[in-house]
Amino acid sequence: LSAYDLSASTFSPDGRVFQVEYAMKAVENSSTAIGIRCKDGIVFGVEKLVLSKLYEEGSNKRIFNIDRHVGMAVAGLLADARSLAEVAREEASNFRSNYGHDIPLKHLSDRVAMYVHAYTLYSAVRPFGCSFILGSYDEDDGPQLYMVDPSGISYGYWGCAIGKAKQAAKTEIEKLQVTTHNVLKSLIISLSPFSPFRIYIVHDEVKDKAFELELSWVGEVTKGRHELVPKDIKEEAEKYAKESLEEEEDSDDDNE
């Protein structure tokens, strides 16, 4: 663009840091990840594009366990995301070591966001090219969902999407009253934008071929532990999703 985009330590005349904006582009070009905060838990869904049929199923996971009660779904450069997952793990572990209890999610997301922000200040390093969504559940604070982007800001959310289909995903999420759903219902009914169902809507059949769906949850149903959704529930949800999608298509056809 100009001479102002060569390092993170330079502002442009209109007050932008281009390196950070370019980092966000890396996230926008990645496949979608969503998180939903329901009444009694959190659901994560990640559209994992499969670039080669030779890949082993389940490799290059994009959902990480940060602590027993905290999960992280990522979009953007996977290697950057992995190193941030490690940072988050150390923060959560040190907190427990010092203070004797589980780290509150807002505190964790503030700490990791501070770390991400540090890499936007110097020309010797580049910003992280990934955004991530953190989710947790505990009996006292209930479900919590936070998103951190490459600029180092963290936001609390009811429903959140990152990656190439984030706009479409957000629209779908807004349509649902997620706060009234419980986690199981969300998975089976809407997992919306992202859920096994909708993901088929936002997934671009032409440009992106095969994809794997990674689903995880944490809530009352898992007794506060963050885990991948069990295979049988996932399959049931996918079946329901496909059926309701077909119904929609049929009703669309009727309307024409």
């Binding site: 070591s97 010092n98 203070y99 004797g100 209890h101 509150p104 807002k106 505190h107 503030d110 006292d140």
Partner: protein, 217 residues
Amino acid sequence: EHPKMSGSQVKGVSTGTTILAVKYRGGVIIGSDSRASIGGDYVVSKVVNKLIQVHDRIFCCIAGSLADAQAVTKMAKFQLSFLSIQMESPPLVKAAASVLKELCYRNKEELQAGFITAGWDKKKGPQVYTVSLGGMLVSQPFTIAGSGSTYIYGYVDAKYKPDMSREECMQFATNALALAMGRDNVSGGIIHLVVITEDKAEHVIVPGNKLPKFHDE
């Protein structure tokens, strides 16, 4: 003839001491005597307050070397104040006890101080924790410590009941401290008590001439 401090030797000014903390229905009472001595011969102060406030609803009482205890509690108070600002909420009593434990455990070669931490938090209500000399952390319904505590194990074991009322608990704590102060030469002076509930932390003093008297006094 150095004062025996749970079996170890303490140099300098120590709090040959009696301290305790007791959970009751709706709160905790934390209490101590007020004598500081050197070597069991000379009373350095008759009115030391061994109940240190480390946060709004969390107090510690100290046993062992006074200098070590002051240094550790000062550090803990700072860490907890910083933590509560970062987290935008008061720290858990467990977190306060954990901070003290880390300081005691990581510096066990240099330090000679043990603590009782008691307080109230929103998550678990009233709680009592003991952090011993080497850095062990244990949660209990009530606990006693210091050189004077050895004389009252029988009394507290016999008289403690869970879910006491505030008055019953005050009487229990006052009696226990008075009995220990009556037999331990390095414990004495006045009784300091702090009653911690959800609403406030109230400091109560029982002066020397108002201590409960027993059969031989």
